[in-house]
């Protein structure tokens, strides 16, 4: 076997079924090993899309997503998606080709020091210069990607190492055993429960850590206490969609009830979340009257932005189960009355002015979420449509609402839907995208077509980079610098050119029928919704401010 064959065999041993990638010079031996192999390669039309697709695969399934690219530009095109995976704790392994070992450091053709480039945005990366280490390195990469706080790992392999012959015995390296997850100490669990028992207005905030097998434990915990709870963008779906104590998303464009309840709380129970600035606004004014219990698997998150009174360092499911076990040792407190009060702090989502007979994006999204089946997986891109969707979505599980949350990478939504569809072939998958982000990955329509992937794209086209336009309107004296996309192409015609069924709607009177036809279509499809150009996202807490500064309409 050569090194490339060993690498592909190592991927197969890890249970990899799909690799998302794009070939090129230095990684050709790897592609040769993939030829007619059981590990299937999905050819995307850009390496960035391949890596986002691998992210969508991983986010929707919990399994490690795998992408590959050649050296130099191929490898550097993976960078944004690797950072996206790092920010959102998504298990990903990227395999990159590298120039020959004797050319490394000579500015060789398509040479990039991708290990140096990705060092701050991966859990770890490896340059494999010994073919006998390929299998062991890939095994370590997978173990690291999926263990503890998941994240991306990059394995860079020079082309001569991929071509080199490897003895059979050298490639069968056993995977290192997974590192034991930390466990919150008993005294910390008791201290947390004492805080909960003493609280009058506790609120739980659940974050992306809940994706690591903690959804049921979270639902049990909040149900036991009748606890009101808010969610970060990463954790939408952690709560049962019918849970009356769920306050929805909090933060900059979060729901009023969620933000106000947290601000009025005397105890914040932070579960697998990291107090992102889009959640807290100004940290020293966030939940001013509250003590904080912070549970996370990553010790770097404790006291990073918000000081914690009780630290629960451990796997979130274990921590929640330990809290429940400690709570039921004596009478369990109930917070139903406070939960009802918290819910009443909100109200209907504010709507923005939209001219009659012009399609409102929020109206389109209301119809969309009413039309899709409850088991649907929805990916979103980044911008206004993302926030409107997050305000309205009621996913049944966090793996059914996928968003580039920490990084906010435009161009994520559509390829992530492709990856999610490969991981979940029987599930209805929809990408909700804006006209800006969709144009960053339009060629992936070819990927849909080639593989017959039935994922569908709802395009909210307001002919603007809407979120930036909104900020320009509100904070830059309506000086609309480089946000107008009034010269957008005919998206439906583009989809049809790729052989994709296209629907289009601009008349509100036709919205229901068109949406129904789009959702019911059995194959890949695009729905182009031509929406009002200046509809804003409300509510909004301006950056660096607090819920006290919440805006619900233009001044």
């Amino acid at each position: 076997m050569n090194g490339a064959q060993v690498a592909v065999a190592a991927l197969e041993r890890e249970g990899v079924d799909f690799i998302f990638g794009y070939p090129g010079g230095t990684i050709m031996p790897f592609y040769d090993a993939l030829f007619n192999h059981a590990v299937r390669h999905v050819l995307c039309r850009h390496e960035a899309a391949a890596a986002f697709a691998a992210g969508g695969y991983a986010r929707s399934s919990g399994r490690v997503g795998v992408c590959c690219a050649t050296s130099g530009p191929g490898a550097t095109n993976l960078v944004t998606a690797l950072l996206d995976a790092y920010m959102d704790s998504v298990p990903l392994v990227a395999v990159t080709g590298q120039v020959r070992t004797d050319l490394m450091g000579t500015d060789g053709f398509q040479e990039a020091d991708v290990c140096a480039i990705t060092q701050p945005i991966t859990k770890r990366n490896f340059l494999v210069d010994d073919p006998s280490q390929i299998a062991a390195t890939l095994a370590e990469a997978f173990a690291l990607a999926r263990s503890g706080r998941p994240g991306p790992v990059l394995v860079d392999i020079p082309t001569d190492v991929l071509k080199a012959q490897v003895t059979e015995s050298a490639d069968l390296a056993p995977a290192p055993p997974p590192a034991a997850a930390p466990r919150a100490p008993d005294d910390a669990v008791r201290a947390a429960v004492a805080r909960i028992r003493a609280a009058q207005r506790p609120v739980a905030i659940v974050g992306g850590g809940v994706r690591a097998g903690a959804v049921e434990a979270f639902r049990t915990f909040v149900a036991l206490l009748g606890l009101p709870h808010a969610s970060t963008l990463m954790a939408l779906g952690a709560a049962d969609p019918l849970d009356p104590h769920a306050l929805g998303m909090l933060g900059m464009h979060g729901l009023k009830a969620a933000n106000k309840a947290v601000q009025r709380a005397d105890l914040v129970i932070a579960l697998g979340m990291r107090f992102d600035d889009r959640v807290t606004g100004k940290p020293d004014r966030f939940a001013r009257g509250a003590a904080v219990i912070h549970a996370d698997i990553d010790a770097t998150e404790f006291n990073k932005l918000i000081p914690a009174d009780v630290i629960l360092h451990g796997d979130l499911r274990d921590t929640l189960e330990a809290l429940v076990a400690e709570l039921v040792r004596s009478q369990v407190p109930r917070f139903d009355a406070w939960a009802r009060e918290a819910q009443e702090l909100g109200g209907a989502l504010p709507s923005d002015r939209v001219a009659e007979n012009v399609l409102s994006a929020t109206d389109v999204l209301d119809r969309f979420f009413a039309a899709i089946p409850p088991e649907a997986i929805v990916t979103v891109d980044v911008g206004q449509h993302q926030m409107w969707a997050a305000q309205r979505a009621r996913p049944a599980h966090p793996r059914r609402f996928l968003s580039s949350s920490g990084l906010g990478a435009m161009g994520f939504g559509f390829p992530a839907a492709i990856g999610a569809q490969f991981a979940n072939p029987g599930a209805p998958v929809f990408a909700v995208v804006g006209d800006g982000g969709f144009q960053m990955c339009l060629p992936e329509l070819a990927t849909l077509r080639r593989y017959g992937v039935p994922a569908k794209v709802l395009l909210i086209d307001n002919q603007n980079l809407g979120m930036v336009r909104q900020w320009q309107e509100l904070f830059f004296s309506a000086r609309y610098s480089a946000t107008n996309l009034a010269d957008n192409p005919d998206f439906a015609a583009i989809a049809r050119a790729y052989g994709i069924q296209a629907f289009a709607v601009s008349d509100p009177a036709e919205a229901d029928a068109t949406m129904a036809a789009f959702v019911a279509h059995s194959g890949p499809a695009l729905l182009h919704a031509a929406c009002h150009p200046t509809e804003n996202v409300w509510p909004m807490i301006p950056a660096g401010m607090t819920v006290d500064d919440l805006m619900e309409a233009r001044a």
């Binding site: 140096a116 060092q119 859990k123 263990s147 997974p178 590192a179 990553d298 010790a299 770097t300 990073k304």
Partner: protein, 78 residues
């Protein structure tokens, strides 16, 4: 703040120095020596207390990511 570290990957020395600058800290002393697979490194950092605490936590995470369970440093580690 001082840190005496045993690293599997010599490149982590560079990573730690970059992190210090990212956190608005300053690396005031670095001593490192290496054999294949193991590097001993001694650092001193200056900076705001909060930033130093964050830096230390990040360094601990780098160490954890470097050493999967069962990994052993090679013979002759300095």
């Amino acid at each position: 703040m001082t840190c005496d570290l045993l690293l599997r990957d010599a490149r982590s020395v560079a990573r730690i120095i970059n992190l210090a600058h990212r956190f608005n800290c300053r690396c005031t002393r670095i001593d490192a020596s290496a054999v294949p697979g193991a590097t001993t490194a001694s650092f001193a950092f200056d900076g705001p207390a909060v930033a130093l605490t964050r830096l230390r936590a990040q360094i601990d995470r780098i160490l954890a990511y470097e050493a999967p369970a069962g990994a052993r440093l090679p013979e002759g580690t300095p």
